[in-house]
């Protein structure tokens, strides 16, 4: 390929990849956009959950770590989801949550008696949307001692989030390239991109600088 052909071939493929990535991630973009909007307006949809408590007798094998014990209980109770194991503050108790976007199961096990209090929390569909949006398995606010994803589905979902972000980064950069290729529209391209950049920069840097 000679020097003259390269920009044309690059431009052609850049446009194709821009279109293909946009089409591939279409449903993901709709999901994250709409769930973002729903989370911005909790009052529009309300925040209602159903709780159903129950009890179960659990026998734990000896010598398990807290995470191993939680996984053992998750399996025995037939639960599926990411284990959320915060620091254990109450002596003789194991407290954790098994969560997935449409269900959270709180487990509070008394290690001595083997009695587990289990509360199933089922949220409304708008909350489910929000949970899908934020379901990374390793949220800092959960304050887990070990930040790891222990459910294969969480790992795959988290991977897909990365893929959507990387896809979006490419779509954005390719659109800037394509915009600047349009010589007769360059001033409008600069105006629209510049306005967005200036507004965004004011929020990202400007507000902290004027604090």
């Amino acid at each position: 390929m000679n020097k003259r052909e390269f920009p044309r071939t690059f431009g052609k493929w850049n446009r194709k990849i821009h279109i293909y990535l946009g089409l591939y991630f279409l449903l993901f973009l709709w999901l994250f956009s709409i769930s973002g909007l729903v989370m911005n307006h909790p009052k529009w949809f309300g925040y209602k959950v159903d709780r159903s408590p129950r009890e179960a007798q659990i026998t734990l094998p000896q010598g398990l770590t807290d995470m191993e014990a939680a996984k053992h209980i998750r399996e025995n109770l037939g639960l599926k989801g990411e284990i959320l194991l915060r620091r254990q503050n109450r002596k003789g108790q194991l407290i954790f949550m098994v969560m997935r976007p449409n269900k959270r199961v709180n487990v509070n096990l008394n290690r001595e008696s083997g009695l587990a209090k289990i509360t199933e929390v089922t949220p409304k569909s708008n909350v489910v949307l929000g949970d899908i949006h934020t379901f990374t398995g390793v949220r800092a606010m959960w304050n887990e001692p070990a930040q790891e994803r222990d459910w294969i589905v969480t790992r795959l979902w988290s991977l897909s989030m990365d893929a959507v972000c990387i896809g979006l980064l490419y779509i954005v950069l390719s659109s800037i390239y394509m915009g600047f290729q349009l010589r007769e529209k360059r001033k409008y391209v600069i105006a629209s991109l510049g306005t967005g950049c200036a507004l965004c920069a004011w929020f990202v840097w400007g507000l902290a600088m004027t604090a």
Binding site: I19, S33, I34, I132, R139, V189, S192, G196, W205, A208
Partner: protein
């Protein structure tokens, strides 16, 4: 061969122009959301650094507490931002935070001594974009005019992103040579979406 009518040509031109300029305007906002998501998805935390501490004498009316107290103190300190805290007084003391993207001021008020200690903590660029990503948010509605404006912008980003996807589909459909490949890619994207969502919720 069927030729396009002038009205459909005009529509296509307008949609193309809007797709281009709206897309470029949104680019930095989408970068903020995409980059912050990568950090949040891998639980990369910022380590806030203290940038300064000062103790300022204040005047407080007797019996003032709650949000009126917070606003009175902030007015005297000439601080503005997103207020986190309700100004509940315990043992003649109250603490609240005033946040801006990338920085937070922790204000501790001692009503007996009639002074306020202000500690400024910076969380840098990452902290700023994460702050913006989380605002307005599920658990908190903005109480500062600037974050309210950001909330309005965040909503606009959603509406305009939806417009970009729909206009993108329309523009792709006009490219007859790309229809077949495009349909296969939409199918592949839809299938991967279903294969990820179904186990997450239904199985």
């Amino acid at each position: 061969m069927k030729s396009k009518s002038p009205s459909s040509r005009t529509l296509a031109r307008w949609v193309r122009e809007l797709h281009l300029y709206i897309g470029l305007f949104l680019s930095p906002f989408i970068l903020v959301y995409a980059v912050s998501t990568l950090f949040l998805n891998h639980s990369v935390r910022t380590t806030p650094t203290d940038r300064g501490r000062e103790v300022v004498p204040i005047t407080v009316e007797d019996g003032l507490e709650g949000m009126p107290l917070v606003h009175s103190v902030l007015q005297q300190l000439e601080i503005s931002g997103e207020i986190l805290g309700r100004g509940m007084v315990r043992n003649d003391k109250t603490t609240f935070r005033v946040a801006r993207p990338g920085t937070v001021k922790i204000v501790s008020v001692d009503l007996k001594k009639k002074e306020a200690e202000v500690v400024e903590r910076s969380s840098g660029l990452l902290g700023a974009i994460v702050f913006l990503h989380f605002n307005p948010g599920l658990h908190k509605q903005p109480n500062w005019a600037v974050t309210k404006f950001w909330g309005w912008l965040a909503d606009s980003v959603v509406y305009l992103t939806l417009f970009l996807t729909v206009s993108g589909i329309y523009l792709w459909w006009l490219l007859k040579a790309e229809r077949k490949t495009g349909l296969i890619i939409i199918g592949a994207g839809g299938l991967s979406f279903i294969l990820l969502i179904v186990p997450l919720i239904f199985i």
